[in-house]
């Protein structure tokens, strides 16, 4: 037992496999689906099939967001001396590597969506059986409610006669909303009761009450479809409610929120992956321009571009290690809300900062579509926004550090 922050050897194969996928499938299709927004990347079907063939326990399959939490049970055995490097770290490492390839394609990997995480976190046995293995999207955000989940206005009314819930409302920013088989919809049983009344419902994508309103045209991650839905008397059987149907002052919602604690380090990892792509390529381009990074000399004794690179790389290293720390804590069942948000905050802002600076260093080469740097600078910005913006992370962190409630520190 000793302090060690290197990638465990046992995950090296996973990382290598993920890297191969990133190089061979993601990178080769990066520009194609950036240009062809809203076109489904059919190359992913084959990949998804391969992944499913390998099973969920390891390999590239561990890389999707959908497996977080779900496979915790699979490797309960501690590795050694009470320390465990488990599925959270494995997922993170694979995901980071894939996002080094292309974060847009990662986000639209079939059957790897965020909805799976929600189902895995809250579903009962019967639901796991029914929904497991299907591609599930997550519909939370509404036009008038951004980070404020208590303001959700989509309603779920109980129809006693039909034993069904009737959902009405509007959902925006649903990742893979068009392509998924299921959409996990957040709706309120009673908007007057705030967060406690918010439940998640699994809606089949072909439910006629779930109407695709439009697909967003976006700054980046254009390979991934982002859908807006209208729920128009959308009828959902009661068996599709995840968790308890009771409105309890505490519990139900926090179960749903738990999903976010698990996924925050993953989104941080995505930013770490994209930022590394930027750094790797910039290092190559700088080398072609005759600039080598010298770690023995102080940055101020080097060319400006080398100093700039070391500055970026150091922030990247901090973001990467914070992300690994959060995953490691999750594997070891240490409460990691603070570290998860620190990782997300640091990686989100650092990713954007690095990508934009790399574009500038690479000049016309970086700004043009001949390289992927400009695309990464567009892609990465979403990672400082979704799954909790920078501001939300800082709120979570400072409330925890200062011991404040959301009423005191707004």
């Amino acid at each position: 037992m000793a302090i060690n922050l290197e990638t465990p050897r046992k995950f090296q194969q996973l990382v290598d496999q993920s890297h191969m996928v990133a190089v061979e499938i993601f990178r080769k299709n990066s520009r194609k689906y950036d240009l062809a927004e809203h076109t489904y990347p059919k190359e992913l079907d084959m990949l998804a099939a391969v992944i499913e063939g390998q099973g969920q326990g390891g390999g590239v399959g561990g890389a999707g967001a959908g497996t977080v939490g779900s496979s915790n049970g699979a490797d309960k055995a501690k590795d050694s001396g009470g320390n465990r490097n488990g599925s959270n770290m494995a997922t993170l490492l694979g995901l980071t590597e894939l996002c080094w390839g292309d974060v847009g394609l990662l986000l639209t990997m079939p059957r790897q969506g965020l909805g799976q995480a929600a189902i895995a976190a809250v579903a009962n046995e019967e639901q796991l059986k029914r929904f497991g293995g299907k591609w599930a999207a997550m519909a939370i955000t509404e036009p008038e409610a951004g980070s404020d989940s208590a303001a959700i206005r989509t309603t779920a009314k109980w129809d006693e006669d039909e034993q069904e819930y009737v959902l009405n409302g509007e959902k925006i920013f649903v990742t893979s909303g068009e392509r998924a088989e299921l959409v996990v919809v957040w709706a309120s049983l009673d908007p007057s009761q705030g967060r406690a009344a918010i439940k998640s419902f699994v809606v089949e994508r072909d439910n006629s009450g779930l109407k695709l309103d439009r697909l967003e045209h976006k700054l980046g991650i254009r390979a991934s479809d982002t859908a807006n839905f209208v729920l128009d008397n959308c009828r959902v059987p009661k068996e599709n409610l995840l968790g308890s149907p009771e409105i309890a002052p505490k519990g139900g919602f926090s179960g749903v929120m738990q999903t976010f604690d698990n996924t925050r380090p993953l989104v941080a990892g995505m930013a770490v992956g994209v930022a590394r792509a930027c750094l790797d390529r910039t290092r190559e381009l700088l080398a072609e321009a005759g600039i080598e990074i010298d770690y023995d000399r102080p940055p101020h004794a080097q060319p400006a571009a080398a100093a700039e690179f070391i500055s970026m790389e150091s922030d990247w290293e901090a973001a990467r290690l914070l992300t690994l720390e959060a995953a490691w804590m999750a594997d070891n069942r240490k409460p990691n809300s603070l570290q998860a948000s620190m990782a997300k905050a640091k990686a989100g802002r650092t990713g954007t900062d690095i990508a934009l600076r790399c574009v500038a260093l690479a000049g016309a080469t970086g700004f043009g579509e001949g390289e992927l740097l400009e695309k990464w600078a567009r892609d990465v910005k979403i990672l400082d926004i979704f799954e909790g913006t920078q501001q939300i992370q800082l709120l979570i962190i400072s409330r925890l550090l200062l011991g404040k409630t959301s009423g005191e520190l707004k």
């Binding site: 951004g146 980070s147 934009l356 016309a364 700004f367 043009g368 400009e374 979403i382 501001q391």
Partner: protein
Amino acid sequence: MAVGLRALNRLAASDLLERLGLRESTERLLRGASKTTAQTAARAGRTFAAAQKRSKPARQPKGERTDLFDLTPNDEQQMLRESVRDFSLAKLRPAAHDADGGCAAPTELLTQSNELGLTMVGVPEELGGAVEQRSAVTSVLMSEALAQGDMGIALACLAPAGVATALGLWGDADQQATYLPEMVGDDPPAAALALLEPRPLFDPLDLQTRARRSGDGFVLEGAKSLVPRASDGELFIVAAQLEDEGPALFVIESGTPGIAVEPEPAMGVRAAGTGRLTFADVKLPVGALLGGGDPAVYAECVALGRLGWCALAVGTGQAVLDYVIPYVNERRAFGEPVSHRQAVAFAVANIAIELEGMRLATYRAAARVDQGLSFAREAALARRLCAERGVAIGSDGVQLLGGHGYVKEHPVERWYRDLRAAGVMEGALVV
């Protein structure tokens, strides 16, 4: 009063007051103007031929050195700025989304922008220019106002003006007689300066495009990157290393054999139709050399180009600020406008602070140009601000809108992309 805009006023006087009073009249005017548009010339380009050749080049006189610190534009500048801004907000902004997607500025808008007399600002009056005295400040104000509508379309409009200004500043009698009558005419050719080269850490003082003397002229080899209006451009001013004499500028017609053009769309300023020009064994006459190959002329051109990009960044930054203020006031969360949160409000405050700093630094450098003072240092400082602070403004603009900032329904995502240009581009336009 140092700067007069008599000719320009003559050009647009009848409509100018109307425009200032009423946007509707502006739109009517410009819709009207579009009907008289001539066909855009093909890439082969028109034939440029010297008209009345003069014995020596004409130059706009410099303004007198003023002594007092003053931030108020003169009356002409104010009117010009307002009319350009009216035009840009009314016409460029609504067209920006599609122009960005299609990588081309609408022909109609390019034609209408000619009517604003952009190409006349830097041309001596004897040669059809509109402005009595040389004023980089006026160019900066116009560029800033145009970019408030859209940076990409603004660049498409301003690139020819940059060529006209360069010819006005450094052209010899032959060059001025050959090109300026067309540049100030009803149908000025698409044109641009081309300094940037496709490589990391580009330094305009270290060019890989090379010109060698050959017989009575020059032979050019190399490539230029992200040239605005590359495909429809008829005239380019291209920077190349002239043997071991230093970097120099060459006036090149697009039809010259050996020039290849390919589209080079980029992260931002896509509406400018950026492309790559490749020069393979391009033979140029001796008269193609601009400014006698003087390295000081070239250095001045580089600095004036940087100020052009600063002006575009300032205008775009202003667009961001003007957009986010009502947004964060109207957008509600947790029961009140998000602008009631310090993190949101302070982000807006910091945009305003840094934007004003960018603007003042740009104005200072431009005012030094007009007063005949050195301005390389001031242009470098303005550029650094506009590159670094500008890109932060673009990023904060998206962040303030959250997920909504990431979709093309709102223009902030475009400004995020465009504002990176000011830290990447060199040349392409001058003020």
